[in-house]
Assembly symmetry: C2
Amino acid sequence: MIKAPYLLYLGSTVDPLAIKTSRGIAMFRPEDAIGEFVREGGPLSLGLPQMGFAEAAAAGARTLILGVANAGGMLSEELIDDCEAALEAGLDIASGLHARLRDEPRLVAAAERNGRRLIDVRDAGSDLPVGNGLPRAGRRLLTVGTDCSVGKMVTALHLERAMRARGIAADFRATGQTGILIAGAGVPLDAVIADFISGAIERLSPAREDGGWDVIEGQGSLFHPSFAGVSTGLLHGAQPDAIVVCHDPSRTRMRGLPHYAVPSLTETIAANLQVGRLTSPDVIAVGIALNTSSLAREDALALCRRTAEETGLPVTDPVAFGVENIIDRMEQCFGESLQSSLRSA
Amino acid sequence: MIKAPYLLYLGSTVDPLAIKTSRGIAMFRPEDAIGEFVREGGPLSLGLPQMGFAEAAAAGARTLILGVANAGGMLSEELIDDCEAALEAGLDIASGLHARLRDEPRLVAAAERNGRRLIDVRDAGSDLPVGNGLPRAGRRLLTVGTDCSVGKMVTALHLERAMRARGIAADFRATGQTGILIAGAGVPLDAVIADFISGAIERLSPAREDGGWDVIEGQGSLFHPSFAGVSTGLLHGAQPDAIVVCHDPSRTRMRGLPHYAVPSLTETIAANLQVGRLTSPDVIAVGIALNTSSLAREDALALCRRTAEETGLPVTDPVAFGVENIIDRMEQCFGESLQSSLRSA
């Protein structure tokens, strides 16, 4: 969908948090990130070679990635100028901003003039199928959560990387804007029409015959009153063999909903397995991913140990401690399947 | 949203099943249905006064209702001719057809010329809120189901009618095209963007202070792999005090999914109460509605009795036997609330 390699746009962005998508690409798709574009005086860098648009195109870049967040998600004049110049230099543009590239006439004209594409990753396709729930070949892991924004995407990306490092065929499947820009493809599930949620995931993660795994990025939470419908359809469409439950132990109330308590891990595991069994009768939990960034390292390790004792599952913070213990558990539970994907990888 | 009273369009429709929406309006909103439009030679009638468009407008009609289904959901030339004539006569047009009125230039021009409205009830609003799950005033009943198309709309309409007949303030809240045309307002839930499912229902059924009930039309089933996400978001947004479970005892496999068995009533009740408790901790089941149209009357009555013994709930076929036993149970469970709505009605 999005052609690699990429030039990552930082522009004159000042807030380090606003470039987290670009940072994610540099971290999880280093082979695709051949350079960064920084405006004169722009204070941020990802440590990549700094390039102009023509220079990047000459170096092989195919797409300028707008992996930046800005106030209101609007396209500034400066950003439009830069995008137009990138199109003239022969690059496609992919954007996760709320404002759509296709709504900016100057960019539409420049893209047409240069035979380049404008890719708004917040747009869901209009031809999605209704889910059918039919069993399909291949192994799938879904990251689920106690709440929104507890590390489901990052956990899925770490799992993909660690599985590949062991020689297991594994592919991250993105369901949100940031994940789509990192993966270069995916479905922005929050933009899909309600009747097509599970069908969109069935298409995103179709049958695979190579014995490998799809590692699907979860969204929301079965316990989030705003978004549980999305999480339910995603769980049914994913037909996961395995789930990994993500949790932020510093959070006591649901994101954006202070009148709702965060559910326990035990409740979250039980509910996801129960709902998941409708389309994947043998689904199991294989691990818990905690975001312990607010804790000292020793406290974080102690919390992982305690949580493992309470749940009987491998527990880790993927960013701090990796996900090897979860992959170990997967090898115990799916040994034969992991072996076969190893052979075919 | 849709202005009453209505002229119901039958045109030259031949298939009695194709006018079920118009039949529903005539049955559940008789005070709004002042006439029917039948083309010369058209074989069907709902027994209403037959009128031309000018005649209907003179009799007070405000809207022509296209409560017809046709092959492919397209607008035929004949239908467009008739709609244009109706607009010229001063009527709005409301349509549940898949093809949109707003996509037909002749109709757009005629509506503008005459200051009339074209209402496509399959269009969801673009300004829907995200659900917040905050407790809100008022009593709500939601019809849920073991499957799609098992009588959730018809049951809700019968409940509204029977509650009103007892002097209880009650309003049907529509979530599908047919229901919206019957009620004159509502939200076409299958067209809503995934992130806004529960928010759309919170807006459809806002806080009410008169002690009365909203009777909300359910959609899909928690056990339908294609649509359970919609049903989940609807259940959370509805915050129901009470659910009525609808079921077609002649069905053994899920609609459109022969590889999925229909769940039991016991499972369906338990799952809906469990999921529903997230936003409505005290939700209870108050009855079961069976579609017994495939059974002889005696067998239907026996099935209702047997199901009541098994579940401890009042069981009926709303069409064949009414819903008085369910309202009785509601009076037992919500006596004070029903009394207060009685006083305010």
